[in-house]
Symmetry: C2
Subunit: 536 residues, 2 copies
């Protein structure tokens, strides 16, 4: 009896402590409420949710069992002011719990979750423009030692603002070490004939420590302003642990649990899968079942997409998908091609895999740094986005310094140009789009009298000033408008200004210089011409 | 009374005559049943349909009022054997009519309607492969004199097997003559201040003679094996007659009437619109309303799509659309780009406008013949299809010899290469697809050890024999397979065989010749290499 009372007092104290500590929460930050309750039966089976109410808004979120007899609710407030909540549960001890907190203005580095803006682009919830310049590291969250910390530092230093990563660990090869933690409790394990371990999972019981680890990593990304493009399923398990072939109801339960824990993280994006079509034991129709489960369990509607093998385009037009996250290098291997993909979908397009910089003995992991950066710029100039990664192997099967596999420090060349790229984008008045799509694959426009041309691999002595007369979004260039041209070397990271001031002379389809003058070019590839109005 | 009896006897005689004449109908040909009945009120308001029944199949088709107190039913039998029908009508005289006919085997030139096959391609209903090589002439059906006959002869001579054309006449300019016939009865007409005619239409009454004319043209196309891609709405009226801005219910009534008359034509395809987005007085949501009206009134599900302005991709993934019929030149201006569009849609893709050969003073009607043919081949080699047209003006505003406008004889150069192109396609064992899509934009495969490479505008002295090791549909090329290479000049229409027999040597991603030999090439553009196995 005494023990029960103590336990109760402890639980109350726990709540009060939390309430005191969390009574103020920034908008788009995370409010967490924990409640200690010993339940009979499997605590992961307890239904537990809460409705959070603001003056005129209310959102219901699922809670989850966090281990050690603690149940938690997490919530991302989307408006400033007072929020109150009341819980619902199949378990009396968890039903009717209430609480409240004050949601305050965002702090300096808090812009809210990233959302779709202007059909093809992104903004943070506070209206700040977000240009996704991401990289990929499948396993960085799962690696022992200082890899995770190193990875976060490398991301911060490089300027990447998004990373794709796996929620389930990747089986790189049979000698790849067993991870420390697994998402499910182990029922039993045994050695197979070949020396590898056969696990029997208790799919009814998650391992909260596993998710705690994932969450700490995602929060570390948040702290440096990096979006976490979290891949919920992947085929690189190949039956070693079996998370690529869980029964449908186990997968749905996993998604519900992961979403209850993670959807309040403002920097999270959902990627239903990497190379979904290589998960050959999943029925094709499962992908929309999983996607709907994600959407149904995410009251904030974080960005959500799915990724397939090369040129495998999923049904991205479905409402559940906020954007296109596709693997395909062909549309970024030439001028203007990527625009066709966005013309089709009328959604933001991210080419989330276009091969990688590296030294691998295959055709997808052996791009030069120049080629990696070139593909990124070809996508960007056409109004889409392209993700980076690099895979430098120390030896065959030695993934020690392979960023794609394990994270850590970058080894290559393209990553060094990312901050420079990002600065150019963030200086623009608006995102890029082809000025005269399908007619001119070179010239992109980012605002009134603000245009860019990317030379790619073409090398020329000069560029005769000429631009499309039309564009889809801004006033036509007026006769007599004066322009300067900056020559940006995207590889060497230099910006040089052409001394000529050009003056627009209008023709039917083009705008030329009144004297047909040209910009002298350094005879190098990968140049970006930034053509902007000069005030009179 | 005597008159009534005579009338009745006449009607009966009429039926018996028809029954006798039409008692045998080829499969996919048209059975027509006419019934004379004087009704009170507007005969176009009478609901009239019939259910046609075969042993295990039954289809309901709408009938229509054909003028002169005659109501008609048209039906395209889809199975051989006996068909019977019984009619339904709001009008007692038209209700419960019955009849039957024998559906016999198809004649020599009757392959049935064209349907989608192998996801990306087409076949006739009898299984014969159909490669759409179409052209476009908006108004050829509406022009007086011998234009229609000339057009049909020109199509027959050229080898085109599809034509896009407008159901409503095109207003080319204000001096363009008034057509002889209109689809609706004229309520009144008056001269406007500028001398043009203002019509008041009786939208409740169609002009059967107008549809008779259209139908005769479509049957003339059928007789020469040309598919009629009939455009149901277009913006080139600009209010002159107002068929671009009819009220929604008038548009739906028009579609119902047109479909009752035309859906039994086996060579018909539905194109909801040309440049739908330029019909600015149509609400955007109308297009799916119209499309559903077409599908609901076509029991045979003829091919159905919609066409927009440049790079305006409609929601082609919707089930109502059997294929993509898009205006966009960008995907056919380089190697392999068109494949991205088909990868996305997983449907047949026809680039139904990629600019035209001609001498017009604009950028869309002034391609050279070479450029027109080049774009067609670029689409074809990537596993899609591309439509032709030409517009040669005698003078500004003189459309006399403009095939795109009026039909008649071809004036240009590309049309002369169409039969040759078609023969190459029809010789293939299967349709083309890129062998290693997104990795190699040059090499296309049409069957086991049957590959093609299109040089386009690139000019080279030789081609070192090498092919992708992989392809999505057929067995890999086996080591030691012997190949010959034919050099096809698509412009000069010559086929030359390289004297070397190559022998496959397999590498990881490529197949080379065991001695790395090359094909010597004539230094000309527009070559097609046909690489096929040679029996040992």
């Amino acid at each position: 009896m005494m023990r029960k009372i103590l336990c109760c007092l402890f639980a109350l104290g726990f709540i009060f402590n939390l309430e005191a500590r969390l009574s103020e929460v920034e908008i788009w930050d995370r409010y967490e409420y924990a409640h200690k309750a010993k339940v009979t039966g499997n605590p992961f089976d307890v239904s537990f949710s809460a409705t959070f109410t603001h003056a005129d808004t209310s959102l219901t979120v699922k809670g989850f069992y966090a281990g050690d007899n603690v149940f938690k609710l997490r919530f991302m407030p989307i408006k400033t002011g007072k929020w109150t909540f009341v819980s619902q549960s199949s378990e009396a001890k968890l039903n009717g719990l209430t609480g409240s907190f004050e949601c305050i203005e965002a702090g300096e580095n808090n812009h809210g979750p990233v959302q779709v803006a202007n059909t093809f682009h992104f903004k943070y919830a506070d209206g700040t423009r977000y240009y996704p310049i991401g990289t990929t590291s499948y396993d960085w969250m799962h690696i022992e030692g200082d890899y995770p910390e190193k990875t976060v530092r490398a991301l911060e230093a490089s300027g990447f603002n998004k990373i794709r990563m796996l929620l389930f660990v990747h089986n790189f090869d049979k000698d790849y070490p067993e991870p420390l933690l697994f998402p499910f409790e182990i029922k039993s394990q045994s050695k197979k004939a070949d020396g590898s371990i056969a696990y029997e999972w208790d799919f009814e019981r998650f391992n909260p420590a596993y998710f705690d680890m994932i969450e700490a990593r995602i929060d570390a990304l948040k702290a440096i302003g990096v979006e976490a493009d979290l891949i919920l399923f992947h085929p690189y398990d190949e039956g070693r642990w079996g998370f690529d072939r869980m029964p449908l109801e186990v997968s749905l339960r996993y998604l519900e649990y992961a979403l209850a824990r993670l959807s309040s993280f403002r920097n999270i994006w959902w990627s239903l899968a990497n190379e979904f079509d290589y998960l050959r034991l999943q029925a094709p129709e499962n992908w929309m079942i999983f996607t709907r489960q994600v959407v149904a369990n995410d009251p904030y509607r974080h960005l959500c997409s799915i990724h397939g093998s090369t040129a495998r385009y999923f049904d991205y037009w479905r409402d559940e998908f906020t954007h296109v996250s596709v693997q395909d290098q062909a549309p970024v291997e030439g001028h203007g091609r990527a625009a066709t993909v966005r013309n089709i979908y009328q959604k933001p397009v991210i080419f989330d895999e276009v091969c990688y910089e590296g030294n691998m003995d295959n055709r997808w992991g052996s791009l030069s740094g120049e080629e990696m950066l070139y593909r990124m710029w070809q996508g960007i100039i056409a109004g889409t986005y392209v993700s980076h990664s690099e895979c430098y192997m120390d030896a065959p099967n030695d993934y020690t310094h392979d960023f794609l596999a394990r994270g850590g420090d970058f080894q290559g060349e393209s990553w060094k140009r990312i901050r420079f790229m990002r600065n150019i984008l963030e200086d623009m008045p608006n995102p890029l789009q082809l000025s005269d799509s399908s007619w001119d694959p070179y010239v992109s426009i980012a605002g009134p009298n603000y245009l860019m041309i990317y030379s790619g691999k073409e090398v020329a002595k000069e560029w005769v000033f000429n631009l499309p007369a039309r564009n889809p979004s801004y006033p036509r260039i007026k006769e007599g408008t004066r322009f300067k041209v900056e020559i940006i070397d995207t590889w060497n990271m230099t910006i040089e200004e052409c001394p000529i001031i050009f003056e627009a002379k209008n023709q039917r389809y083009r705008v030329c210089d009144k004297e047909n003058r040209a910009v002298a070019l350094p005879e190098r590839p990968y140049l970006l011409l930034r053509i902007t109005e000069v005030a009179l």
